[in-house]
């Protein structure tokens, strides 16, 4: 049987088409992108140990000095007064108190 020439071979080979990469490949390879606000709920911050210790000591010192230099609390403001509790005097009994040596 007569073999193919170059042009015929190329024409035949081009009929074998390969599929494109499936979409599932992207999901397997590319890292999932999350919204910035999701970081507020799930994000983490890496802090070097010396920095963390220094931050804790600074916070403790701040709290200590804040409490020891705490100002005395101001006088409590007077409670509001309601006139509903006041009752008129039912029987007035005036009494005159004079000096002991009056009239002498």
């Amino acid at each position: 049987m007569e073999p193919l020439d170059d042009r015929e071979l190329d024409k035949l080979l081009q009929q074998w088409q390969a599929p494109l990469a499936p979409p599932s490949l992207r999901a397997k390879v590319l890292p999932h992108r999350s919204h910035w606000w999701q970081w507020l709920a799930t994000g983490t911050i890496r802090v070097p140990v010396p920095v963390g210790i220094a931050a804790v000591l600074a916070l403790a010192a701040f709290l200590y000095f804040f409490r020891t230099t705490e100002r005395p609390t101001a006088a409590q403001p007077a409670k509001s007064v309601s006139l509903a509790d006041f009752q008129p005097v039912k029987q007035l009994e005036p009494r005159v108190v004079g000096r002991a040596n009056e009239g002498n």
Partner: protein, 175 residues
């Protein structure tokens, strides 16, 4: 490599890498696994790619090629890597032209198959193919020539669309 650079590399080369693996292995699942491994290699070890030694496409195809060979070794098909072996008969009866071509290419020795796929379908230059398969340009030329000669014989029945017969061939020559 930044995330943006990696995404760009993936978008530009995912189809090339997948197609190459698919044609070499003949399996969509295996091709996807290999393509995934190729890009994860780039992500984890970006320093392995040296732009001074060639294009990123060649590097990724070389990684894919090594993964394909590794799978063959793991499957104890290492002997098939040799360029000289008795090819099984190719039954073209009832096959569409594309299937017949696929079977013919799959029947080539792997070292011929890979250079044919890279040259014919991915249109790499001989220098790029040589870098990808880690061989001399002259060796690549020889393998490509032998691959095409073998295909000329194997696919000859398709010349007149006379595909209704089974063809058996002897041995392919060493490249």
């Amino acid at each position: 490599m930044t995330e943006a650079e990696f995404r760009s590399a993936f978008e530009q080369n995912k189809d090339v890498v997948y197609r190459f693996a698919w044609r070499m292995c003949g399996s969509a699942a295996v091709a996807e696994d290999i393509a995934q491994e190729v890009f994860l290699t780039l992500l984890r070890q970006p320093g392995r790619f040296d732009s001074a030694r060639g294009a990123l496409r060649s590097f990724l195809l070389a990684v894919a090629r090594n993964l394909v060979l590794k799978r063959w070794r793991d499957d104890s098909r290492l002997d098939e890597l040799e360029d000289q072996f008795a090819t099984p008969p190719i039954d073209l009866e009832g096959r569409e032209t594309a299937d017949a071509v696929s079977a013919a290419v799959a029947s080539l020795p792997p070292l011929q198959r890979e250079v044919l796929i890279l040259a014919q379908y991915e249109e790499l230059s001989l220098e790029e193919i040589a870098r990808t398969v880690d061989a001399e340009v002259g060796t690549v030329k020889s393998r490509l020539h032998r691959a095409r000669e073998n295909l000329r014989q194997v696919l000859a029945p398709l010349k007149s669309r006379n595909v209704g017969r089974s063809i058996s061939h002897g041995t392919f020559g060493r490249s």
